[in-house]
């Protein structure tokens, strides 16, 4: 023991320790030397504390080293052998006593948690857990409390090793790893269908066992995480410091955020993304979270703000790791990087999106993309193009963006994305002439953006106090008309597209139509064959024309857009949602409801798979399907759909939105058609009031709502 310190030195020791632990390990020695000077006793004391801080957790080890219970009995189970011990508790191989003896795994949660809550939470899911039956899931049989009050769980005994150890030990190739991972996805997806979220997916919960001579992955511990983790704030210090940290690496941002309310199946998608990343690279997407040093909240904040590097990028940065990892994949460094680059990079990144809305909506969607990659088909995960960069720009500049009006944002966003896209194209282009051209057009656009933004500056040389954004837009329209972008048709058409939509939403339909027609023309000349840009233009144009001239006129364009999209994308690609839904609306409005119905069902399925549960897009397509069914006279079924859609939007936007106004209107229109004007009235009044807040005064949608409201009042008077 060192000699005792004086009491004022104890306070100093405390303060110095607090500061020193925040420092990186390498800087601590210098800090101690500088702060303690010649006070040898203080120096020694501080240094030994810092060393103890970084060394193994002896205190935690004592908590965890419970005496073995082998040979004892818990309920009907006889404990045979301790097979695992972790931060959370111990796992025993046990035998269920009784007429049919059965070997099971029994997991005893260590004391320190509120057993009643654990069991109460387990009971909530018990029935659902019992309904799970899947070869890739270790079935959960039972749960209860030991005599001394510790909760325990009983599940299928899996004799296996964690998935990444299995893969490395057998030097599985990337393809073999993906195939194994796909089976994991099947298990998790099955659980999701039964309403069970795992919440703690990580390699140690994904065991690979041998069955009939082949490797079979099994997901264990379903229901355990839900039961034992209330939320972060409920957890004990020991838990946070000692055990959850290992799990944090695999935890979705929303799950690690103590303030987040609910997590859903997309949280499991994230965890699977981390597992996949690790299987492919041998590395976690982020540096491992260390318990010592930085406070947990700091680490979590950093995690929330950083975007993970793509797997290939991460390996490229750590060449040592790549050299070590490649042989474990039965290949060399260069082929490994080549395999990861592209599809697998973007699949991982899409699964690891911070915003659940941007992630794969379901585990199935993730699995499907991996399957597509294995089959050599195009995947839905896209490289971070203009849109991605732009979202990041918006995320970084949120305050600034919110202060601008929606119109300005739309305009600037359209322009900036054109610039960014061109910049990327320039970098991607290898032929120097094409590259020069792209750089030149990027410059033209950014110059244009600059002038527009400048014109909104109150101190510009125009002398006018403040140009409105709409005036700036009119300038842009004039510039286009004057041929400023004649040599840069890509920019011209994307500007026209953006501006036309703004014009449309402000009721300037004639101009909008002209602009969209020009854009379509330009794009058709520019892109030969099938292009999504052309699909976009076709649909936008048909939208305006249906507002102006009614539905019949636009069918040919919509059909063309649908055919083109079906050639461009696989059957279940999310880019098909919009064209197909336009066609369904078109058919149902032109009296072909019977054909429209299955199409509307398909659209809703696509949208649900792509966006997941509650989502404004999903609500729209539910309402649209209901409308088709109402046309067909299936009114009861239709009513259920309308109500579901409205309820979903009310959950999503409790204080109202253009989306909610829209579904209210669709629902009211159906009521009117069914002769229920009294029922339609309150919905229409709400829709109009809401649209007046959320839409521009001249918006064609608002006009439609108002028109319907007038019809409704007339019907009521009659």
């Amino acid at each position: 023991m060192s000699e005792p310190l004086a009491s004022h030195e104890l306070a100093r020791l405390e303060r110095l320790f607090e500061r020193a632990v925040e420092l990186p390990r390498g800087e601590q020695a210098a800090f101690v030397a500088a702060e303690c000077g010649s006070n040898e006793a203080l120096r020694r004391e501080l240094w030994s504390l810092l060393e103890a801080h970084g060394s193994e957790d002896r205190l935690g080890a004592i908590v965890r080293q419970a005496p073995s219970r082998t040979g004892t009995r818990i309920g009907p189970y006889l404990l045979l052998e301790r097979i695992g011990e972790g931060g959370m508790g111990e796992v025993y191989a046990a035998e269920r006593q009784g007429p049919i003896a059965r070997r099971v795994a029994l997991k005893i949660i260590k004391p320190g948690m509120d057993s009643r809550q654990v069991i109460a939470r387990f009971e909530v899911e018990r029935q659902a857990l019992a309904r799970m039956a899947h070869p890739n899931i270790a079935q959960v049989f039972d749960g209860g409390t030991t005599e001394s009050g510790s909760p325990y769980f009983v599940m299928e005994l899996v004799d296996g090793e964690p998935i990444h150890e299995h893969c490395d030990r057998h030097a599985l190739s990337t393809r073999e790893r993906l195939e194994l991972f796909l089976e994991v996805c099947k298990g998790v997806q099955h659980a999701h269908q039964k309403g069970i979220i795992h919440r703690d997916l990580k390699p140690s919960n994904l065991l690979v066992t041998q069955q009939d001579g082949r490797a079979l992955p099994k997901v264990i511990d379903f229901g355990v995480a839900r039961a034992t983790n209330g939320d972060l704030t409920e957890r004990t210090l020991q838990t946070i410091v000692g055990q959850i940290v290992g799990t944090l690496d695999y935890m979705s941002p929303e799950q690690a955020d103590p303030s987040s309310v609910e997590i859903d199946t997309r949280s499991d998608v994230y965890s699977l993304g981390v597992v996949l990343y690790e299987l492919l690279t041998g590395l976690l997407p982020f540096e491992r979270l260390e318990a010592g040093g930085t406070p947990l909240s700091e680490l979590q904040r950093a995690r929330r703000e950083q975007d993970p590097p793509t797997p290939s990028m991460r390996l490229r940065r750590q060449t040592g790791t790549a050299m070590r990892v490649a042989p474990l994949h039965g290949t060399d460094e260069r082929s490994l990087l080549r395999q990861l680059q592209g599809d697998l990079d973007w699949i991982c990144i899409k699964a690891l999106e911070k915003d659940p809305e941007r992630r794969y909506a379901t585990v199935d969607a993730l699995a499907l993309d991996i399957q597509r990659h294995l089959d050599g088909e195009p995947v839905t995960a896209a490289p971070p193009g203009a849109g991605y960069r732009l979202r990041k720009f918006v995320r970084r500049n949120k305050a600034a963006v919110i202060t601008a009006t929606a119109v300005a944002v739309a305009l600037v966003v359209g322009l900036v994305s054109a610039v960014v896209a061109l910049g990327e194209k320039a970098r991607a282009d290898t032929a120097s002439r094409a590259a020069d051209r792209s750089v030149a057009s990027a410059e033209v656009t950014s110059e244009f953006v600059r002038t527009i933004l400048m014109s909104a500056d109150p101190w510009n040389e125009d002398g006018k106090q403040e140009k409105t954004v709409l005036e700036a837009m009119d300038d842009a329209i004039r510039d286009i008309a004057a041929g400023r972008f004649r040599d840069y048709p890509e920019i011209e058409s994307s500007l026209q597209n953006t501006i036309a939509l703004i014009l449309l939403n402000r009721g300037r339909m004639e101009e909008a139509e002209a602009m969209l027609a020009q854009a379509l023309d330009t794009r058709r000349k520019l892109f030969h064959g099938d292009r999504y840009e052309v699909v976009q233009s076709l649909l936008n144009l048909s939208l305006v024309r249906s507002y102006r001239y009614g539905v019949a006129e636009s069918e040919a364009r919509i059909v063309q857009a649908v055919e083109m999209s079906e050639r461009l994308f696989p059957r279940d690609h999310p880019s098909l949602i919009w064209p197909l839904s336009c066609l369904a609306t078109q058919w149902s409005k032109s009296g072909r409801g019977a054909e429209a119905e299955p199409l509307a069902v398909r659209v809703l399925e696509l949208a649900t798979r792509h966006y997941g549960g509650d989502h404004s897009e999903v609500a729209q397509y539910i309402a649209r399907l209901a409308r088709v069914r109402n046309f067909l006279g299936r009114t009861a079924e239709a009513r259920e759909g309308f109500d579901e859609s409205i309820a979903m939007m009310r959950r999503l936007t409790p204080s109202g939105s253009a989306w909610l106004a829209d579904v209210l209107w669709i629902s009211a229109e159906a009521r009117l058609a069914n002769g229920d004007a009294a029922g339609a009235l309150p919905e229409l009044e709400e829709a109009v009031a809401m649209a007046a807040i959320h839409l521009a005064a001249m918006s064609p949608d608002l006009a439609r709502y108002e028109e319907t409201l007038v019809q409704c009042r007339v019907k009521l008077v009659e």
């Binding site: 607090e18 030994s48 103890a52 419970a66 409920e234 406070p295």
Partner: protein, 198 residues
């Protein structure tokens, strides 16, 4: 099965936890002796039934006491925190008694030789050796940093979370986290020093 505790004790505990929830902090002092008496009784009863080689788990016992004395009448999280806090302190008292007895046995040379069996008996049937080590280290910590030792007591023996400890000790959560970090390093070092002993 656990023995039913005297009805009156349970009622008193429930009343005190109610008082705590309503902000009467002095109720904590009244809670301690009640819980202490019960924990002693439970510990003795458990020890009598322990199989050879098994030891009593202090933390488990604290939680068992909670079940027995509070049971299913939910006292809210604050009530629970205060109860477990009191129980954790009571448990440390019991451990301190054991430690005292163990050390006095070790000190008395001929007594120790004559009573080797007694010492082993005590250790294997009482609290585990490691828990006594923690108790001893904690006493050292409490001499210089009493508040940090309190934080450890509540966390280690009571299994209380950071917000719960903050509530019981009337500290901010940040302070609790800092105290815990320091105390953990301090105890880690102390426990490490003891380890190489043959």
């Amino acid at each position: 099965m656990v023995e039913p505790s005297p009805r009156t004790a349970r009622e008193q505990v429930t009343r005190l936890l109610g008082a705590l929830r309503d902000g009467e902090r002095q109720a904590t002092d009244e809670l301690f002796p009640l819980v202490y008496a019960d924990l002693r009784r439970m510990a003795a009863a458990r020890m009598a039934r322990l199989a050879p080689g098994q030891t009593l788990q202090a933390t488990a016992l604290v939680h068992e006491a909670y079940f027995e004395l509070v049971g299913t009448d939910d006292p809210g999280w604050k009530g629970r925190a205060h109860f477990l806090g009191a129980a954790a302190r009571a448990m440390r008292n019991i451990l301190a008694d054991h430690l005292e007895r163990k050390n006095s046995l070790k000190r008395g040379g001929h007594l120790a030789r004559a009573g080797t069996e007694t010492t082993e008996g005590l250790c294997s049937q009482g609290p585990s050796e490691r828990e006594l080590d923690v108790e001893e280290a904690l006493q050292g910590l409490a001499r210089d940093f009493p508040r940090k030792a309190e934080v450890v007591t509540l966390s280690f023996f009571g299994g209380l979370s950071t917000p719960e400890i903050a509530e019981v000790l009337g500290l901010s959560e940040r302070t609790v986290e800092r105290d815990w970090q320091f105390a953990k390093a301090w105890l880690n070092r102390h426990l490490g020093e003891r380890e190489p002993m043959p």
